[in-house]
């Protein structure tokens, strides 16, 4: 009897030990949370980019990392652009040409969580003097910098001064980065919603949130279409269902009217479209299937109708 009692005590002890192991030792909590979140210091090349450096570049500063709270510490007001587009974190570091400390550049990798968001910040900041760059589907360079999308990342390399040697080095670094982080095929099917003829090249832009000031306009693609004398901005966004598309079309229409636009009494082109005249110009909004599309701030109604019709035809063609 005593023996049984003692054995029961052992069982109780074993149970107690088992229950206790569910409340982790603080050291274990630190060890398991610190691993992914913090830039693990044991392998600095993982936090920095030294593994990707081409021969002619040397590290010029320590790698830095910024998250949503601290991004503005680095890029000040520009942080908003990234934050509204789904910014996760940014890593940056400076490099210089070996043997010449005056020739330095800064390398920024913005992790935007997915391709569309990375494309969005890429497209919104496209410089006017962009020159082509054979790197990824979405890439361009200027005199002293290069910009590209690689999967979920948006990368900028900005040199302190223009120069061929530095540009070559930056391109080499970019290629190493792409090789190390292969993006696969980067395709944004929505870009095909815009007619290819008369399209101003590389004018696609993706606005993740609050396009044209309308807070229900999320993930809105736009592109410039040449027509006669002017460029007209066409836009399109894909919804979950035709009903949602119709609802959004009507909501935007109401939004425009509520903000001082006036209904235009004219034949709607394409069929079922809403046409209004706002301060910026003529707006046409229509829906076809799951897509809400149209024309924004066109200089005159003829041009607006032409482009809207072309877009509608393209969407119809893509449906097949």
């Amino acid at each position: 009897m005593v023996g049984v009692a003692i054995l029961l005590c052992l069982v109780a002890a074993a149970l107690g030990v088992f229950v206790k192991q569910f409340s982790f030792n603080p050291a274990v909590l630190v060890a398991t949370s610190a691993a992914p979140a913090k830039s693990a210091p044991a392998a600095p090349s993982a936090a920095g980019f030294s593994a990707l450096l081409p021969a002619e570049l040397a590290e010029f500063s320590v790698p830095e990392k910024f998250d949503a709270d601290t991004l503005s510490d680095k890029i000040d007001g520009k942080a908003d652009l990234y934050l509204t587009a789904g910014f996760v974190h940014m890593r940056c570091q400076r490099f210089a040409l070996k043997g010449s400390a005056e020739d330095w550049m800064e390398w920024f990798v913005y992790d935007m969580a997915n391709l569309p968001q990375a494309f969005s910040v890429f497209s919104l900041q496209r410089r006017a003097e962009a020159r082509s760059l054979d790197l990824t589907e979405f890439a361009y360079r200027t005199r002293n910098a290069l910009f590209f999308v690689c999967g979920r990342n948006y990368i900028e390399a900005v040199a302190a001064a223009p120069g061929d040697e530095m540009m070559n080095a930056m391109v080499a670094l970019a290629r190493n980065f792409v090789a190390a982080n292969p993006p696969g095929e980067m395709r944004l099917p929505e870009l095909d919603l815009f007619p290819k003829e008369n399209l101003v090249p590389d004018s696609h832009v993706l606005q993740i949130a609050t396009a044209f000031g309308f807070d229900q306009f999320k993930n809105v693609f736009s592109a410039k279409c040449k027509t006669g004398d002017a460029d007209v901005l066409a836009f399109a966004t894909v919804l979950a269902s035709p009903d949602a598309a119709n609802a959004l079309r009507d909501a935007y229409h109401k939004f425009l009217l509520a903000n001082g636009s006036k209904e235009v009494a004219a034949e709607p082109v394409p069929a079922g479209a809403r046409t209004v005249e706002s301060f910026d110009g003529t707006e046409i909004i229509f829906s076809r299937g799951k897509v809400v599309a149209g024309v924004h701030a066109a200089p005159n109604i003829e041009a607006a109708k032409r482009v809207a019709a072309a877009v509608e035809r393209q969407i119809a063609a893509m449906e097949k």
């Binding site: 003692i6 050291a27 693990a40 210091p41 043997g99």
Partner: protein
Amino acid sequence: MNIIRVRRITQVFFVVLFLWFCVVTTLGDRWWQLRGWPVNWLLELDPLVALGTLLTTKTVYAGLLWALLTVALTIVLGRFFCGWVCPFGAVHQFVGWLGRRSKKHAEKVALNQYRRGQVVKYYILVAMLVMAAGGLVARSNSLVAASLQTGLLDPIPLIHRSVNFVLLSVAEGISASQRHYTGAWAIAAVFFGAIFLNLLVPRFYCRFICPLGALFGVLARWTPWRIGKREGECSNCEVCENNCEGACDPFGKIRVSECLLCMNCLDACRQTQMRYGPNRSAASEIESLGVTRRGFLVVAVSGLAAVPAMRLSGLAGKNWQPRLVRPPGALTEADFLDRCIKCGQCMRVCPTNVIQPATLEAGLEGLWTPVLNMRIGTSGCQLNCVACGNVCPTAALRPLSLDEKLGRGRFESAGPIRLGTAFLDRGRCLPWAMDAPCIVCQENCPVSPKAIFAREEFQVIRDGARRVRSATATSVTVDGAVLKEGKLGTGDFFVRSESGGDLKRRPIAENSADTVGVAASASWESPLQTGSVVVLEVRLQKPFVDPGKCIGCGICEHECPVSGLRAIRVTAENESRNKKHSLTASV
């Protein structure tokens, strides 16, 4: 149920539990890793740990309150811990049993006779408690102080050390990750020595040496329940003493304080004479421990004198040992030695195996206390790890939060915990002394901004001044000793003309035995003149340590390619735990 069987099950239970705790004391969240396993439970149940630290710190720290349970049960039941719980005791019992299995009855009885030497463990207990109590007697004079040495012979810390450092390491060696522990031979010697002594006398350690057993012996004097004979006279077969573990003489006048409650006598006696009950043995008892007043005084005075004697080397004061880099969270040395029971849990859990048992770095008192040896293990002290303090049962290493260790948040004004500072040995460092590019220490420095920074210097290499024999826009052929093919093309070497208009140095892209070539983008406008002087240079980044940033983690020392006596070494100057060791004015 047969009480012997229950006892055996209990002993096995605690041995298995102990071994399980040893195995899981490794940082991680899998079921076979630390998680929340209460790996210090046996150390916390050990009243000698609680009593020792109570005397040195005047507190009972956190989980050590468990010892109350053991004390209460011992006062009521007797030395149940020795006979039923202590894993070291279980090992001794097993080996002793193995040793005497084939012996005859008379031999067994002789082996289990009470010996006068069994009083030695009480003297050991007195000596240790007096040493621990030194601080209560003296004022703040550093010589007469306390020193906690119970850990040396207390069986629970002892078996933790022995299993963790010796048995587990050897077992791990069969798998990939071999851990090392300095001086483990001594720990093994003590452990195996104690175990093999059981072949001489069963439960040798328990009977003659164990201070914990002695403490239990003292507590067991007034147990309401005890082993004893029913009647004064019996058949004198002495079978009860065949397997008497405590050598307490149950046949005659039983020595209550030596009885381990192994219950073997109960089980063996064929006349049901032996029982565990509320009455004293009918054959009467010996309550005395055998401690004489003279013996007590001799040991007490020795204990009192021992601490100042050990402290005379000044190791806790001006003669402090710079090689004594203690783990993060360690208290100031005197306070640390008041708490460390040398259990080795911190060394066991350390993920990089950098914490080692000290030999004499901390003096005699510091034997087997934790000290960092940056060369051993997989890395120095990891930046984002707070394991050691969070497994220390006595808070000799404080349980740190990551914020406190890194000096973040609430602790920003205090700054990060520093273990010491790294010092460059310029006579051994490759870029400083040997014209060899290397910047491994700076690359691996984990703090941000780095505590190691480099200053660039261009040095003409040995035999680096040459004359041009011929040249093109992108190459120069030189006279002089043969160049090692490809050696100069690593990106660290440069060529520079010393005459003419273009004195700019260019990185060497490749070289053959007599020609160095540069990249097209670095070509000379016009090829260098034959006969002019060019120099071949190496670009050295010479490391410097910033004492304001260095936390003494030792990763640099660990990674330094000068693998014998490292060219950068951490010593304890500027350690946070002792302001007297400050290196810089602002701490």
